[in-house]
């Protein structure tokens, strides 16, 4: 399947889109051109294959408890998947905390199916032909919110608190290079090499932190969720390792998600 995907990508690229030229240019139209390329690719996105796999995993009886995930409550009631992704992170009474999509899926895999955190945290990210189950499941869930407006809740006191904690983390400068998230994502019109950096403190641009994830990343031909993106950001910030489905992920996702509220979520996307 992976070879078919790779071949498909090469066919599209060979069809003439001058992506290497586009990337080499410093012209701001490069970002525009890539967005157009992305829109074309999203019409037949390899992510769809992972949505299908995720749906199978959601419905199949698995794990030591031989149960499916169909009783998993993502915030709209047990088993309700449609519209769930765009209202996460949110407060859950059963755990007494704010949880994001992947953290909640892992919670359900542990409590309903009997899987262990240690096993899931061992290889949490896609590599080569390996795609972890939570990644496929989150991709499926996210696809069921396609076309809906981002509506991360800010009604429970813990949700409000989580937003503010996320904001403090976003601005926290540390590590040998003194970086915070804001170092790269706190101003307009910044670019690392040729990669544009949206300013996530601004609502219009904050939508780009939510949009396109989970995303099929062409570099490596793998499916990634925001768990991967945030963990790798902190690696590049020269911080220690951010544990799988941590509360820091959640707080940041609340901050970014709320800033993006109101924008239409177009479903799993495609990345460079």
């Amino acid at each position: 399947m992976r070879h078919a995907l790779t071949l498909w990508i090469f066919v599209v690229l060979a069809a003439g889109f001058p992506i290497s030229q586009a990337v080499a240019q410093t012209d701001p139209r490069t970002a525009e051109e890539f967005d157009r390329f992305r829109a074309i690719m999203e019409e037949a996105n390899p992510a769809e294959l992972f949505e299908v796999k995720g749906e199978e995993l959601w419905k199949k009886k698995r794990g030591p408890k031989n149960a499916s995930l169909e009783q998993c409550d993502l915030g709209l009631g047990p088993g309700v998947v449609k519209g769930a992704y765009v209202q996460l992170p949110r407060y859950f009474a059963d755990t007494g905390k704010v949880m994001d999509a992947e953290q909640r899926v892992v919670h359900c895999m542990i409590t309903l199916q009997g899987f262990s955190y240690a096993a899931l945290a061992k290889r949490p990210f896609s590599r080569g032909s390996y795609t972890p189950d939570p990644v496929a499941i989150v991709t499926y869930i996210a696809a069921q919110s396609k076309g809906m407006k981002i509506a991360v809740r800010q009604s429970h006191p813990k949700e409000l608190e989580n937003y503010e904690v996320g904001r403090e983390i976003f601005f926290y400068r540390a590590g040998p290079w003194d970086f915070s998230c804001a170092s790269c994502h706190g101003q307009d019109n910044l670019r690392i090499r040729t990669q544009p950096l949206p300013n996530f403190t601004q609502p219009e641009q904050a939508a780009r932190s939510f949009m396109g994830w989970p995303g099929y990343r062409m570099t490596g031909g793998v499916m990634h969720t925001l768990q991967w993106r945030l963990t790798d950001c902190f690696r590049q910030q020269r911080f220690p390792y951010l544990s799988y489905v941590s509360d820091t992920h959640t707080a940041l996702l609340t901050y970014l998600g709320v800033n993006a509220n109101g924008h239409e979520y177009r479903g799993p996307g495609i990345k460079r």
């Binding site: 080499a24 904690v165 403090e168 040998p176 290079w177 003194d178 970086f179 390792y241």
Partner: protein
């Protein structure tokens, strides 16, 4: 009565100011630090002490990179004192080596080794991540200002060589909340590497000055 009204007015103004400012909230920051301490773990060369802020990081975080002038001056002086100039008094290394160092953005992450990248090379300076330098390299970032014709524009004198070396060693000595990392104090780059980068900026033969 008048004094009470003035005091009340000041209090209201301060509260109103707090409500609209996006500055740091001490209580939430405490929670944020607690959350991060539980969320991260040490891996490879990236130990948990990387989460501990020094005074510069704390001040720049709290003031959102806009500290009061007196604090700025004091901290910049402290950073200046951290700069170690080369013992031989020479600031220029080799610009060709400098170009390589400027092009490599790896090193210092939990994947890397002490003083070397995961690929076994010396740490890079990552200059092209943020700056325009040689006209031949079009894949440059915009986080920092263009350094095109750095020497050509400023003159090739020893005083400018020294300034460039110091800036590379510790950019915060010149602008306390700069985004640019402190390559010297952090141990990211060696003295020779920083001399090579200085040459990349200041050698008349360097492509940067074409």
């Amino acid at each position: 009565m008048k004094n009470a009204l003035i005091s009340a007015g000041v209090v209201v103004a301060v509260i109103a100011g707090c409500a609209t400012t996006q500055g740091s909230d001490p209580e939430r920051q405490r929670e944020a630090v607690e959350t991060m301490k539980q969320s991260f773990h040490a891996r490879g060369i990236a130990k948990m002490n990387r989460l501990n802020q020094d005074e510069l990081q704390r001040v720049c975080t709290d003031t959102r990179d806009q500290p009061p002038a007196n604090v700025q001056k004091r901290l910049e002086a402290a950073e200046m004192a951290e700069i170690k100039l080369p013992a031989d008094g020479k600031f220029l290394g080799g610009w060709k080596r400098g170009e390589k160092i400027a092009s490599i953005g790896r090193g210092m992450t939990w994947r890397d080794k002490p003083g070397r990248t995961s690929r076994g090379e010396p740490n890079g300076g990552g200059c092209y991540n943020c700056h325009e330098l040689s006209p031949k390299v079009t894949s440059f970032g915009s986080v920092g200002p263009s350094l095109r014709q750095f020497g050509k524009k400023r003159g090739y004198g020893v005083d400018i060589q020294k300034y460039a070396y110091m800036k590379i060693y510790n950019a915060k000595a010149f602008s306390i909340c700069s985004t640019m990392p402190r390559f010297g104090p952090s141990g990211t780059l060696t003295e020779q590497q920083m001399k090579d980068l200085t040459a990349y900026l200041m050698d008349p033969k360097s492509p940067v000055n074409k």
